[in-house]
């Protein structure tokens, strides 16, 4: 069980209109795990379930090998959390907040905190309420990193921040990972950022997990094909057909397909069924993500 976060058949319902059913999530420890999904897809809810802020109806949650919610105090001691909205008290100054957090975390690294204060150019005597959005985000990251936790759970840490602040935060995160070998669980809908940093990606929509795969497999496994005179029905293809449209104005039987789990050698399959692949176009993570979502919403195959 080397997973930092292990969710099994998680079931949670909030009111009538939102529900998480049969959620299985495995975050390998030491990885940077991206958690993609449109707004309102249950990302924040999942994070709150992971941190024990919410109690699921059923399902097992194992964080860093400890079961939640029984040992939630120990778990939280080793997890750094940065929420979507600042959750710190605006009437305390930066220095006071740092001292407050320091008292609660056994492995608090005062040197790292001081270093980050310098690097993020934060003014110790400034009231948290009066900090800018970027400074607040930096302070929360600072607090999370200074805890020297084995797992960082970040809920859209760089959302709505200017590139300079984002760059500082990302480099601080990456430095931390390389120094401590910690696991990072980033939920975001800034695909480029995740593409750059993550080595695992999960996509979630409307409370259900669409796919969970290493970045390379997900990114290179999704291709757009220009296929000529393809047969209507395909008999158990080695790849997954996400969407299939007839090319507009391509003349004849040209079709645009988007396929998942694509391996380079699979064009041979088309020759076997008498079709031909005129072109294989690579998709970056964003296009792949959009296609995945679209096919999923049209009721395509789950995984």
């Amino acid at each position: 069980m080397s997973d930092a976060i292990h969710l099994e058949r998680l079931h949670y319902r909030a009111g009538r209109n939102f529900e998480i059913k049969e959620l299985d999530l495995h975050v390998p420890s030491g990885s940077i795990y991206g958690f993609l999904g449109p707004n309102g897809s249950g990302k924040t809810t999942t994070i709150r379930l992971i941190l024990g802020l919410l109690r699921p109806l059923s399902g097992r949650i194992t964080i860093l090998g400890l079961t939640m919610p029984d040992q939630y105090a120990h778990i939280l001691g080793r997890v750094g959390y940065v929420p979507e909205q600042p959750h710190l008290d605006p009437t305390l100054t930066v220095r006071e907040l740092i001292d407050f957090q320091a008292a609660f975390y056994p492995r608090w690294d005062r040197a790292r905190a001081e270093d980050l204060v310098q690097r993020f150019e934060l003014d110790g005597e400034h009231l948290f309420g009066r900090l800018s959005k970027g400074q607040k985000a930096k302070l929360m990251i600072l607090l999370a990193l200074s805890q020297c936790g084995d797992l960082l759970v970040l809920d859209e840490p760089t959302d709505g921040l200017d590139p300079v602040v984002r760059r500082d935060i990302l480099s601080a995160l990456v430095t931390y990972v390389s120094e401590r070998g910690a696991t990072i669980f980033i939920s975001s809908h800034l695909v480029h950022e995740l593409e750059r940093v993550c080595d695992w990606i999960a996509v979630m929509d409307n409370g259900r997990l669409i796919t969970e795969a290493p970045m390379e497999k997900l990114k290179h496994g999704t291709k757009r094909l220009v296929v000529m005179n393809a047969p209507a029905e395909l008999v158990n293809p080695p790849f997954r057909v996400l969407t299939r449209e007839s090319a507009n104005g391509g003349g004849g039987a040209g079709e645009n397909w988007v396929v998942g789990d694509w391996e380079p050698g699979m064009t041979s399959y088309f020759e076997a069924v008498g079709a031909s692949v005129r072109d294989v176009i690579d998709l970056d993570l964003e296009d792949g993500f959009v296609e995945l979502l679209r096919s999923f919403r049209k009721g395509g195959t789950g995984r």
Partner: protein, 362 residues
């Protein structure tokens, strides 16, 4: 001869009115006598009516006799016998040998159902008791309604209350202590500090002349007395002006006003409890016949009667009274231990509620 005749006629003329005067006087006397006889007749009739009423009230009810107590009551479930057995020793210890005359003053009770609405014959003699009283309440009734044997008016006036056994002697002594400390009169404070003579003055057991000086010596007291209880009494009429002067701290005006009060209406610095305690101390010191000696000479001054009852001179009696009062400082009404435990308990309880009600998760 004529002058003599003239004198005689003049005298007779003069005497006529005198005679009529005499006849007037005689007539007046005759009328007074007849009034007196009709008054005695009425008195006799009243006694007869009383005895008839008494006979009617006591008709058909049995009599309980315990020690000197006689209780005439209609048959009921009231535990009168046991109550009498508990009350008699207390009464006997108070009145001592005089308790033997108590049978002359029997209790007359009528046990009634407190809830019933039926109209009952109005009873002019005796007391109606609800028949569901428990033992303690019944003995309490016996103690509080005993008629002190041959209790003369002079003693009653001075005491201000009937002399009956004290239900809670300790509270009475504590009340006296509080009065000695808080009474707004220099004399009382001096008595509290040990001046036995001032104590006697305040207890008003000596001669009653010059009481104003003795009881309300300082100007502040007199002014407080005038502007306080007698404020509106003096406000009307001629005394309004002197009242105004008295308010401007002119002590002579205040003194004049107080002197103008009818005798005996000067408020007493000490409440009846103080004098009651003095009598109890005297009876206690005097032994069994103390009460009899106390009521023996109604014409003597209170001081003499008390000292004869107590069998000691008045100064040492008052000194003993003062010591008793001072020894009875009331227990300070600070936080009792169970209240502190209750407070701690409630604090812990609400602390626990805070835990239960605080948010364990979002």
């Amino acid at each position: 001869m004529s002058r003599v005749l003239a004198l005689v006629s003049a005298a007779s003329l003069l005497a006529a009115p005198l005679q009529s005067q005499d006849s007037l006087v005689a007539r007046e006397r005759r009328r007074a006598d007849s009034l007196l006889s009709t008054w005695r007749e009425a008195q006799r009739l009243a006694d007869v009516a009383d005895s008839l009423e008494r006979a009617r009230a006591t008709a058909g009810s049995d009599t309980i006799a315990v020690g000197g107590l006689r209780i005439i009551v209609n048959p009921s479930s009231l535990p009168l016998r046991e109550a009498a057995e508990r009350a008699w020793p207390v009464i006997d210890s108070l009145y001592g040998s005089a308790a033997e005359d108590l049978p002359r003053y029997p209790y007359i009770f009528r046990a009634v159902d407190p809830d019933s609405g039926v109209r009952r014959a109005v009873l002019h003699v005796g007391v109606e008791l609800p028949w569901d009283l428990d033992l303690r309440a019944t003995s309490m009734v016996l103690l509080t309604t005993v008629t002190p044997p041959d209790f003369d008016p002079a003693l009653a006036d001075w005491l201000g209350a009937a002399l009956r056994p004290a239900l809670r002697p300790q509270d009475e002594r504590a009340a006296v202590f509080v009065q000695l400390v808080t009474a707004p009169s220099e004399a009382v404070r001096a008595c509290f500090l040990g001046d036995i003579a001032r104590c006697q003055g305040v207890l008003q057991i000596g001669d009653s002349t010059g009481s104003l000086e003795r009881l309300y010596a300082t100007p502040a007291e007199r002014e407080a007395l005038v502007t306080g209880p007698f404020g509106d009494y003096f406000a009307r009429g001629a005394t309004a002006l002197t009242l105004q002067n008295c308010r401007q701290h002119r002590v002579d005006a205040c003194t004049a006003l107080l002197r103008s009060l009818p005798p005996g209406s000067l408020p007493r610095p000490l409440a009846p409890a103080a004098r009651m305690l003095l009598v109890r101390v005297a009876l206690h010191a005097g032994g069994r016949d103390a009460y009899r000696r106390l009521v023996a000479r109604p014409s003597a001054t209170i001081g003499e009667r008390l000292s004869s009852a107590a069998g000691m001179d008045i100064d040492s009696l008052v000194a003993r009274w003062r010591n008793d009062a001072l020894a009875a400082r009331p227990k300070p009404l600070t936080l009792s231990w169970w209240a502190s435990f209750a407070a701690i308990g409630w604090t812990a309880f609400f602390g626990f509620c805070a835990l239960r009600s605080s948010r364990w998760r979002l």
